[in-house]
Protein backbone atom coordinates (compact mmCIF):
# COMPACT_ATOMS: atom_id res chain seq x y z
CA UNK A 1 0.00 0.00 0.00
CA UNK A 2 1.53 3.31 -0.98
CA UNK A 3 1.01 6.28 1.24
CA UNK A 4 0.56 9.71 -0.28
CA UNK A 5 3.79 11.56 0.12
CA UNK A 6 3.92 14.98 1.75
CA UNK A 7 5.94 17.22 -0.51
CA UNK A 8 5.31 20.44 1.36
CA UNK A 9 6.43 21.27 4.89
CA UNK A 10 3.94 20.93 7.74
CA UNK A 11 3.37 24.66 8.23
CA UNK A 12 2.18 24.87 4.64
CA UNK A 13 -0.74 22.58 5.45
CA UNK A 14 -1.34 24.31 8.76
CA UNK A 15 -1.62 27.60 6.90
CA UNK A 16 -4.47 26.03 4.98
CA UNK A 17 -6.46 25.88 8.20
CA UNK A 18 -8.28 29.20 8.71
CA UNK A 19 -8.41 28.68 12.45
CA UNK A 20 -4.66 28.01 12.77
CA UNK A 21 -3.89 31.00 10.55
CA UNK A 22 -6.22 33.24 12.56
CA UNK A 23 -4.51 32.24 15.81
CA UNK A 24 -0.91 32.50 14.58
CA UNK A 25 -1.58 35.93 13.05
CA UNK A 26 -3.13 37.05 16.32
CA UNK A 27 0.06 36.03 18.09
CA UNK A 28 2.32 37.76 15.56
CA UNK A 29 0.36 41.04 15.44
CA UNK A 30 1.58 42.73 18.67
CA UNK A 31 5.27 42.18 17.85
CA UNK A 32 4.95 43.52 14.34
CA UNK A 33 2.91 46.50 15.57
CA UNK A 34 5.64 47.48 18.04
CA UNK A 35 8.35 46.97 15.41
CA UNK A 36 6.45 49.03 12.81
CA UNK A 37 5.89 51.88 15.25
CA UNK A 38 9.51 51.85 16.42
CA UNK A 39 11.07 51.73 12.95
CA UNK A 40 8.70 54.30 11.46
CA UNK A 41 9.08 56.84 14.28
CA UNK A 42 12.87 56.48 14.48
CA UNK A 43 13.14 56.50 10.68
CA UNK A 44 10.96 59.59 10.28
CA UNK A 45 12.81 61.65 12.89
CA UNK A 46 16.14 60.53 11.42
CA UNK A 47 15.01 61.29 7.87
CA UNK A 48 13.56 64.72 8.62
CA UNK A 49 16.01 66.15 11.14
CA UNK A 50 19.30 64.25 11.10
CA UNK A 51 19.97 62.97 7.58
CA UNK A 52 22.12 65.42 5.60
CA UNK A 53 20.48 67.38 2.81
CA UNK A 54 21.41 66.63 -0.79
CA UNK A 55 23.97 68.99 -2.33
CA UNK A 56 21.88 69.31 -5.51
CA UNK A 57 18.28 68.91 -4.34
CA UNK A 58 18.58 70.41 -0.88
CA UNK A 59 15.89 69.36 1.58
CA UNK A 60 13.31 68.19 -0.98
CA UNK A 61 15.54 65.09 -1.09
CA UNK A 62 13.97 64.05 2.25
CA UNK A 63 10.87 62.94 0.29
CA UNK A 64 12.92 59.89 -0.74
CA UNK A 65 12.34 58.42 2.75
CA UNK A 66 8.63 58.08 1.95
CA UNK A 67 8.86 57.66 -1.80
CA UNK A 68 11.26 54.71 -2.03
CA UNK A 69 9.74 52.59 0.80
CA UNK A 70 6.20 53.03 -0.58
CA UNK A 71 7.31 52.19 -4.13
CA UNK A 72 9.26 49.12 -2.95
CA UNK A 73 6.33 47.97 -0.85
CA UNK A 74 3.81 48.52 -3.66
CA UNK A 75 5.83 46.10 -5.82
CA UNK A 76 6.52 43.50 -3.11
CA UNK A 77 2.87 43.57 -2.13
CA UNK A 78 1.91 42.94 -5.77
CA UNK A 79 4.24 39.94 -5.98
CA UNK A 80 2.82 38.57 -2.75
CA UNK A 81 -0.73 39.06 -4.07
CA UNK A 82 0.11 37.20 -7.29
CA UNK A 83 1.91 34.34 -5.50
CA UNK A 84 -0.89 33.96 -2.94
CA UNK A 85 -3.39 34.01 -5.81
CA UNK A 86 -1.42 31.28 -7.61
CA UNK A 87 -1.32 29.13 -4.46
CA UNK A 88 -5.08 29.59 -4.18
CA UNK A 89 -5.51 28.55 -7.81
CA UNK A 90 -3.26 25.49 -7.63
CA UNK A 91 -3.98 24.08 -4.14
CA UNK A 92 -7.48 25.58 -3.72
CA UNK A 93 -6.27 27.03 -0.45
CA UNK A 94 -8.88 29.42 0.93
CA UNK A 95 -6.52 31.28 3.26
CA UNK A 96 -4.22 32.06 0.32
CA UNK A 97 -7.17 33.61 -1.51
CA UNK A 98 -7.95 35.71 1.55
CA UNK A 99 -4.33 36.89 1.76
CA UNK A 100 -4.39 37.83 -1.92
CA UNK A 101 -7.64 39.75 -1.47
CA UNK A 102 -6.23 41.57 1.59
CA UNK A 103 -3.07 42.60 -0.30
CA UNK A 104 -4.98 44.56 -2.95
CA UNK A 105 -6.17 47.64 -0.97
CA UNK A 106 -2.84 48.01 0.86
CA UNK A 107 -0.86 47.77 -2.37
CA UNK A 108 -3.18 50.22 -4.12
CA UNK A 109 -2.70 52.85 -1.42
CA UNK A 110 1.07 52.27 -1.46
CA UNK A 111 1.22 52.70 -5.25
CA UNK A 112 -0.85 55.86 -4.85
CA UNK A 113 1.50 57.13 -2.11
CA UNK A 114 4.55 56.43 -4.29
CA UNK A 115 2.97 58.28 -7.22
CA UNK A 116 1.83 61.21 -5.05
CA UNK A 117 5.18 61.69 -3.32
CA UNK A 118 6.89 61.26 -6.70
CA UNK A 119 4.76 64.06 -8.14
CA UNK A 120 5.40 66.30 -5.12
CA UNK A 121 9.13 65.60 -5.41
CA UNK A 122 9.08 66.10 -9.17
CA UNK A 123 7.71 69.63 -8.96
CA UNK A 124 10.74 71.28 -7.28
CA UNK A 125 13.26 68.88 -8.90
CA UNK A 126 12.11 68.51 -12.52
CA UNK A 127 9.79 71.53 -12.61
CA UNK A 128 6.76 69.35 -13.34
CA UNK A 129 4.28 67.28 -11.30
CA UNK A 130 4.10 64.58 -13.94
CA UNK A 131 5.98 63.44 -17.02
CA UNK A 132 5.08 60.48 -19.22
CA UNK A 133 8.25 58.71 -18.31
CA UNK A 134 8.70 54.90 -18.42
CA UNK A 135 9.12 54.52 -14.65
CA UNK A 136 6.16 56.75 -13.82
CA UNK A 137 3.91 55.17 -16.43
CA UNK A 138 4.69 51.58 -15.39
CA UNK A 139 4.00 52.58 -11.76
CA UNK A 140 0.65 54.05 -12.84
CA UNK A 141 -0.13 50.73 -14.56
CA UNK A 142 0.64 48.97 -11.26
CA UNK A 143 -1.98 51.16 -9.56
CA UNK A 144 -4.51 50.30 -12.28
CA UNK A 145 -3.74 46.57 -11.87
CA UNK A 146 -4.50 46.87 -8.15
CA UNK A 147 -7.73 48.74 -8.91
CA UNK A 148 -8.63 46.03 -11.43
CA UNK A 149 -8.16 43.31 -8.81
CA UNK A 150 -10.26 45.26 -6.27
CA UNK A 151 -12.97 45.81 -8.91
CA UNK A 152 -13.08 42.08 -9.72
CA UNK A 153 -13.53 41.20 -6.04
CA UNK A 154 -16.39 43.67 -5.62
CA UNK A 155 -18.07 42.83 -8.95
CA UNK A 156 -18.15 39.00 -8.64
CA UNK A 157 -20.40 37.71 -5.87
CA UNK A 158 -19.22 34.11 -5.85
CA UNK A 159 -16.14 34.14 -3.62
CA UNK A 160 -14.31 31.26 -5.32
CA UNK A 161 -15.02 32.73 -8.76
CA UNK A 162 -13.85 36.21 -7.72
CA UNK A 163 -10.64 34.80 -6.21
CA UNK A 164 -9.93 32.83 -9.40
CA UNK A 165 -10.41 35.81 -11.72
CA UNK A 166 -8.43 38.17 -9.49
CA UNK A 167 -5.57 35.66 -9.27
CA UNK A 168 -5.44 35.32 -13.06
CA UNK A 169 -5.38 39.11 -13.50
CA UNK A 170 -2.68 39.45 -10.81
CA UNK A 171 -0.54 36.76 -12.49
CA UNK A 172 -0.87 38.32 -15.94
CA UNK A 173 0.00 41.72 -14.48
CA UNK A 174 3.16 40.27 -12.97
CA UNK A 175 5.00 41.12 -16.23
CA UNK A 176 4.74 44.76 -15.15
CA UNK A 177 7.06 44.21 -12.15
CA UNK A 178 10.31 43.67 -14.12
CA UNK A 179 9.22 46.48 -16.44
CA UNK A 180 9.05 48.85 -13.45
CA UNK A 181 12.40 47.61 -12.18
CA UNK A 182 14.31 47.91 -15.45
CA UNK A 183 12.43 50.93 -16.87
CA UNK A 184 15.22 53.25 -15.72
CA UNK A 185 17.80 51.14 -17.60
CA UNK A 186 15.82 50.33 -20.76
CA UNK A 187 14.50 53.75 -21.57
CA UNK A 188 15.90 57.25 -21.39
CA UNK A 189 14.37 58.62 -18.28
CA UNK A 190 14.30 61.55 -15.92
CA UNK A 191 13.92 59.18 -13.01
CA UNK A 192 17.10 58.44 -11.11
CA UNK A 193 18.37 54.81 -11.04
CA UNK A 194 17.68 52.41 -8.18
CA UNK A 195 18.93 53.44 -4.75
CA UNK A 196 19.45 49.91 -3.45
CA UNK A 197 20.99 47.12 -5.49
CA UNK A 198 21.65 43.66 -4.14
CA UNK A 199 25.04 43.41 -5.80
CA UNK A 200 26.60 46.78 -4.99
CA UNK A 201 26.94 49.17 -2.13
CA UNK A 202 24.53 52.10 -2.45
CA UNK A 203 25.96 55.11 -4.27
CA UNK A 204 24.51 57.31 -1.53
CA UNK A 205 26.38 58.30 1.60
CA UNK A 206 25.87 55.96 4.56
CA UNK A 207 24.19 58.62 6.67
CA UNK A 208 21.66 59.00 3.84
CA UNK A 209 20.82 55.36 3.07
CA UNK A 210 20.81 54.06 6.63
CA UNK A 211 17.63 55.98 7.61
CA UNK A 212 16.16 54.86 4.28
CA UNK A 213 16.78 51.24 5.24
CA UNK A 214 15.10 51.87 8.60
CA UNK A 215 12.07 53.33 6.82
CA UNK A 216 11.89 50.39 4.37
CA UNK A 217 11.90 47.92 7.29
CA UNK A 218 9.26 50.05 9.05
CA UNK A 219 7.04 50.01 5.95
CA UNK A 220 7.36 46.22 5.67
CA UNK A 221 6.39 45.78 9.33
CA UNK A 222 3.42 48.11 8.82
CA UNK A 223 2.44 46.05 5.78
CA UNK A 224 2.56 42.85 7.85
CA UNK A 225 0.30 44.43 10.49
CA UNK A 226 -2.27 45.74 8.02
CA UNK A 227 -2.24 42.52 5.97
CA UNK A 228 -2.74 40.29 9.02
CA UNK A 229 -5.55 42.50 10.33
CA UNK A 230 -7.35 42.35 6.99
CA UNK A 231 -6.78 38.62 6.53
CA UNK A 232 -8.11 37.88 10.02
CA UNK A 233 -11.25 39.89 9.22
CA UNK A 234 -11.65 37.96 5.99
CA UNK A 235 -11.28 34.65 7.88
CA UNK A 236 -13.95 35.66 10.42
CA UNK A 237 -16.42 36.60 7.69
CA UNK A 238 -15.93 33.49 5.59
CA UNK A 239 -15.81 31.08 8.53
CA UNK A 240 -18.76 32.69 10.35
CA UNK A 241 -20.67 29.40 10.35
CA UNK A 242 -17.76 27.43 11.80
CA UNK A 243 -18.10 26.42 15.42
CA UNK A 244 -14.73 27.89 16.46
CA UNK A 245 -15.80 31.34 15.25
CA UNK A 246 -19.08 31.07 17.14
CA UNK A 247 -17.17 30.03 20.25
CA UNK A 248 -14.72 32.91 19.83
CA UNK A 249 -17.50 35.46 19.36
CA UNK A 250 -19.57 33.95 22.16
CA UNK A 251 -16.82 34.81 24.64
CA UNK A 252 -17.11 38.52 23.84
Amino acid sequence: MSEKKNWMPRWFYQLASPRWSYDIMGKLLPGFTVAALLFLVVGTVWALAFAPSDYQQGNSFRIIYIHVPSAVLAQSCYMMMAIAGAIGLIWKMKVADMVAKSCAPIGATMALLALATGAIWGKPTWGSWWVWDARLTSMLILLFLYLGVIALYSAIENEAMAAKSAAVLALVGLVNIPIIKYSVDWWNTLHQPATFKLTERPAMATEMWLPLLVMVIGFYCFFAVSLMMRTRNEILVRERRASWVKELVGKQ
Binding site: L40, T44, L48, A49, F50, A51, P52, S53, G58, N59, S60, R62, I63, I66, H67, S70, P105, I106, T109, M110, L112, L113, A116, T117, I120, W121, K123, P124, F222, V225, S226, M229, R230, R232, N233, L236, V237, R240, V245, K246, V249, G250, Q252
Partner: protein, 59 residues
Protein backbone atom coordinates in the same frame (compact mmCIF):
# COMPACT_ATOMS: atom_id res chain seq x y z
CA UNK B 1 21.03 67.80 13.51
CA UNK B 2 21.18 69.24 10.03
CA UNK B 3 19.20 72.37 11.01
CA UNK B 4 20.26 75.37 13.07
CA UNK B 5 16.83 76.39 14.34
CA UNK B 6 13.25 75.16 14.49
CA UNK B 7 12.06 77.70 11.90
CA UNK B 8 14.76 76.45 9.52
CA UNK B 9 13.52 72.90 10.14
CA UNK B 10 9.97 73.93 9.22
CA UNK B 11 11.12 75.85 6.14
CA UNK B 12 13.25 72.95 4.80
CA UNK B 13 15.34 75.41 2.78
CA UNK B 14 12.28 76.68 0.89
CA UNK B 15 11.00 73.16 0.14
CA UNK B 16 8.93 72.93 3.32
CA UNK B 17 5.60 72.69 1.48
CA UNK B 18 6.72 69.72 -0.62
CA UNK B 19 8.42 67.84 2.21
CA UNK B 20 5.69 68.31 4.81
CA UNK B 21 2.92 67.55 2.31
CA UNK B 22 4.63 64.24 1.43
CA UNK B 23 5.00 63.21 5.06
CA UNK B 24 1.42 64.26 5.86
CA UNK B 25 0.02 62.15 3.01
CA UNK B 26 2.17 59.20 4.13
CA UNK B 27 0.83 59.50 7.68
CA UNK B 28 -2.77 59.61 6.45
CA UNK B 29 -2.26 56.56 4.19
CA UNK B 30 -0.65 54.51 6.98
CA UNK B 31 -3.30 55.46 9.56
CA UNK B 32 -6.13 54.60 7.13
CA UNK B 33 -4.58 51.18 6.49
CA UNK B 34 -4.62 50.40 10.22
CA UNK B 35 -7.85 52.12 11.33
CA UNK B 36 -9.99 50.74 8.49
CA UNK B 37 -9.39 47.03 9.25
CA UNK B 38 -9.73 47.74 13.01
CA UNK B 39 -13.16 49.33 12.50
CA UNK B 40 -14.11 46.57 10.08
CA UNK B 41 -13.28 43.97 12.72
CA UNK B 42 -15.47 45.70 15.30
CA UNK B 43 -18.39 45.65 12.87
CA UNK B 44 -17.85 42.00 11.91
CA UNK B 45 -17.74 40.88 15.54
CA UNK B 46 -20.84 42.86 16.54
CA UNK B 47 -22.74 41.46 13.53
CA UNK B 48 -21.67 37.94 14.50
CA UNK B 49 -22.72 38.47 18.12
CA UNK B 50 -26.14 39.67 16.99
CA UNK B 51 -26.56 36.69 14.66
CA UNK B 52 -25.50 34.30 17.42
CA UNK B 53 -28.05 35.75 19.89
CA UNK B 54 -30.81 35.45 17.29
CA UNK B 55 -29.89 31.82 16.64
CA UNK B 56 -29.82 31.01 20.36
CA UNK B 57 -33.24 32.60 20.89
CA UNK B 58 -34.92 30.73 18.04
CA UNK B 59 -33.53 27.36 19.08
Amino acid sequence: MSFESFSEFIAMGGHGFYVWLSYAIALIVIVINIVNPARQKKKIVSDLVRRLRRENKSS
